[in-house]
């Protein structure tokens, strides 16, 4: 039997009961809408979070001393950091590479003191794509070079220390020999991000000044932070970089240097995937129901078809094609239903402040804004469409099988 004829017959069979078909299509479309929006929210959100974490931490891939992750003391350094940075820049997919020194310091004024994390940077090499706080200045500005006496504080930290722009701050840290060393700085800028971990516990210092104070060589540092355009390729880039490093130095992708964030994202993604599967199963049940009833209604017709020369395989193929049509039309309707809301949310984001709080929230030290952006990876959209089609076809398997098992004589006797 010709393929086009069967397809035509299957199409017409679909519309014998318009209302029922429309309802089933509606459920497929609904499922697609949910799946696409959920995934789009996740894709964008987690990508943003990872990028933000990268800009708060050590990039998407961090090159550091092998023992630094477990015991982050200032004697665990990376030598030849400039050469490593050059090599990293040459890797495909890498957008920026910066060299830094990070550690813990005690900041004090005449009357107060506070501990904080410090990040030693070369401000001429960094900007908002490498450093999240670079455009969060509420007062003042970044210090001009990697030399000198500048310091930038988080807003809460500045408050707790009781300092404002221009005031002096002493910073103490333990150098590679275990000696306490100190430096003097003037507050050149204050940043405010809304994230308590950053505002209350972070400061920026000039890289070369730190090198002198800590007795580092001119190209020594504690990390080389590598930023890439697509965070999904972190492992790839880390592996390639790692191969070029000597044995005391490693290149860690973000999920190894920030395992809690990785775990959190994995858990959320797992939860969302579970939801999507659950909804898919429920919708497939609905499709199954519809197809099954439509098959049982037509048993006599199938019997006649078998009598006049259709084979059971033809009948099964016919029902599967009805299932296929259902899936394809469902996809189209789903797409039409989704495109409007998606475009809107893509442009405006979803305001989750009712659920998350106006100032956003902070997870594993990374801030999450209260406006959820929406943007789906094209690969995921295709995956969802394919999955929807497969689910629809799967729902049709049993009804098709039943239809093919009709014994012609049984049904004709039903007159």
């Amino acid at each position: 039997m010709g393929f086009p004829q069967m397809l035509r017959m299957a199409w017409r069979n679909l519309w014998r009961n318009g209302r029922r078909t429309m309802l089933t299509l509606a459920s497929i479309a609904f499922g697609l809408l949910l799946a696409i929006l959920l995934t789009a929210m996740q894709d964008r959100n987690w990508a943003d979070m990872i990028d933000l974490a990268a800009r708060l931490g050590g990039g998407h891939v961090t090159v550091e001393h092998a023992g630094f992750l477990d015991a982050p003391t200032l004697d665990k350094t990376v030598r030849g950091s400039d050469a490593i940075a050059e090599r990293a820049r040459a890797e495909p997919g890498v957008t920026r590479v910066v060299v830094r020194i990070v550690g813990q310091t005690l900041l004090s004024t005449a009357t107060k003191s506070r501990g904080a994390r410090f990040v030693g940077i070369d401000p001429t090499r960094e900007d908002s794509t490498t450093l999240a706080v670079a455009n969060a200045f509420s007062e003042g500005a970044m210090f001009p070079s990697a030399e000198g006496e500048g310091i930038v504080l988080g807003s809460r930290l500045a408050e707790n220390l009781g300092v404002t722009l221009g005031k002096k701050v002493v910073y103490n840290m333990t150098d590679r020999n275990g000696e306490l060393v100190a430096g003097l700085a003037r507050v050149s800028g204050i940043v405010h991000t809304g994230s308590p971990g950053v505002d209350g516990g972070m400061c920026l210092l000039p890289l070369n000044t730190l090198r002198k104070i800590l007795g580092y060589a001119p190209d020594e540092a504690t990390q080389v932070a590598v930023f890439i355009s697509d965070q999904r390729r972190s492992d790839e880039v880390a592996a390639r970089l790692g191969a070029t490093l000597d044995s005391g130095t490693v290149a860690l992708p973000w999920h190894e240097s920030q395992p809690e964030l990785a775990g959190f994202i994995a858990m959320k993604v797992g939860g969302a995937n579970f939801m999507k599967i659950l909804i898919a199963v429920l919708i497939a049940a609905g499709i199954f129901n519809t197809l099954f009833v439509s098959v049982t209604e037509r048993m006599r017709e199938f019997g006649i078809m078998l009598a006049i020369g259709y084979s059971p395989g033809d009948i099964r193929a016919l029902v599967m094609m009805e299932s296929l049509w259902m899936g394809l039309v469902g996809l189209v309707v789903g797409f039409l239903l989704t495109v409007g809301p998606y475009m809107y949310l893509h442009a405006h984001g979803l305001d989750m402040s009712a659920m998350v709080g106006k100032g956003g929230t902070e997870v594993a030290g990374v801030g999450v804004s209260s406006i959820f952006k929406v943007e789906i990876f094209p690969g995921n959209a295709v995956l969802i469409a394919v999955a929807a089609l497969v689910a629809t076809l799967a729902a049709g398997v049993y009804p098709a099988w039943r239809a093919g098992r009709v014994a012609p004589v049984e049904t004709i006797r039903l007159v």
Binding site: R20, F30, T73, L106, N172, L278, E362
Partner: protein
């Protein structure tokens, strides 16, 4: 009664169709019950962690402390206040707070030093349960301190190692002493894990030359009092100080916890809408298949309301079956979730808004774990069944009987 019996038999008449609908509804309901248990478990644990480990129900500070959290913004008559609270039978304990530099053999970091009355503190906080290495403080060992896990990692210290603390004392001199690490805490809060050092109150007073007063008094409410009433009562007892409930101290967290509940309901609705469509479809098919039968019912004298009851009765039976089956299926799941829980692995110890998650995620069992999924399910099913039922109830008998 006979209508319900008819409804029951009708459900069994078309077993296969009923089976698919009931199976799908059961699946959805079971999953939602387990999900509800997990989310509520998470909320309960988070609130408990927040209150039991850090905030208590109500805190008292000197009015200056919020803007200027220094050694000097202290509650001068702390011991008198404590006596007043004791008289009222309120659980209360004072804390001394200071900042300084902590140094291990190889590294140093800024730390927040807390001096506590070890015995009293047990009444308001369960922080002592979170010692993962070594032991909690002992008033008889004032030179031994307990540190947060992140701090221990940063300073590379473990129980038995030495810790040097440096700071500025109340009289302006340099405070400087060597202590021994007695224990390491984990999973208290992000701040404590990162920079927390705990010592006895006597040790604190000696180190900081701070003989009197306290920076913070933590109170726990009696079980029969709600938080706001409790705060009001405390305010009366301490009119010169700043008294705040935990919600005022951590408003974002409070709203996070509140809104987590509404997120849960949204999830229910989404899952149930899928079920609703399935039920709507199934019921429409059933009604149209049996339209002649309903026409006969009306012809022999059934009122529309009674036909409505027949259909809704069938739907209710199916849903009831699904709920019972769902509960039966959920039971072992709930047992597992409450007894064993989900091992969060790497997530254990992760912080959300500064509050640390338990390493084992446990579900809870309380009435609302069941009632919320149930109520939402019934609402959606009712909505879905309304249209087909109305169609059947209001058909014209003659047209129905003549239907093909």
């Amino acid at each position: 009664m006979s209508i319900l019996r008819m409804a029951w038999r009708n459900v069994w008449r078309n077993r296969r169709r009923s089976l698919v609908t009931v199976a799908a509804t059961t699946l959805a309901f079971t999953v939602m019950v387990l999900y509800s248990s997990l989310v509520q478990g998470y909320l309960v644990a988070m609130e408990r962690n927040l209150l039991d480990l850090e905030l208590g129900d109500v805190q008292v500070h000197d009015p200056r402390y919020q803007d200027d959290p220094s050694l000097y913004s202290s509650i001068a008559d702390a011991s008198e206040l404590l006596a007043r609270f004791d008289a009222k039978g309120y659980a209360a304990s004072a804390r001394l707070l200071g900042f300084g530099l902590g140094a291990g053999a190889d590294a140093s970091a800024g730390v927040q030093i807390q001096g506590i009355d070890v015995v009293r503190d047990r009444r308001v906080s369960r922080i002592y349960e979170r010692v993962k290495q070594g032991r909690w403080l002992d008033p008889g060992a004032p030179h031994e301190v307990v540190v947060g896990s992140q701090l221990a990692r940063t300073l590379v210290v473990k129980p038995g190692d030495e810790l040097i603390l440096l700071s500025q004392a109340a009289d302006g001199s340099t405070a400087n002493d060597i202590y021994t690490v007695r224990g390491v805490l984990q999973g208290v809060s992000e701040a404590v894990d990162r920079v927390g050092v705990f010592m006895t109150d006597a040790a604190f007073r000696r180190f900081f030359a701070f003989p009197e007063g306290a920076h913070e008094i933590i109170l726990r409410r009696p079980p029969d009092m709600d938080v706001d009433a409790f705060a009001a009562s405390v305010r009366e007892l301490a009119p010169n100080e700043r008294v705040q409930t935990w919600r005022e101290l951590a408003p974002t967290l409070a709203s996070l916890l509140d809104s987590a509940r509404s997120i849960m309901v949204v999830v229910f609705l989404i899952v149930y809408v899928a079920i609703g469509i399935l039920i709507l479809n199934a019921m429409l098919m059933a009604v149209f298949e049996r339209i002649r039968e309903f026409g006969v019912l009306k012809a022999i004298g059934y009122a529309p309301g009674q036909v409505l009851l027949v259909i809704l009765g069938e739907c209710a039976m199916q849903t009831l079956l699904a709920i019972v089956a769902g509960l039966l299926l959920a039971w072992p799941g709930l047992w597992y979730l409450t007894r064993v829980g989900i091992d969060m692995g790497k997530l254990g110890g992760m912080a959300m808004m500064g509050v640390v998650l338990d390493p084992i995620w446990r579900g809870v069992v309380n009435p609302s774990v069941f009632t919320m999924p149930l109520v939402t399910l019934v609402a959606i099913v009712g909505l879905a069944a309304a249209y087909p039922a109305a169609r059947a109830a209001w058909i014209s008998p003659i047209r129905a009987i003549q239907h093909r």
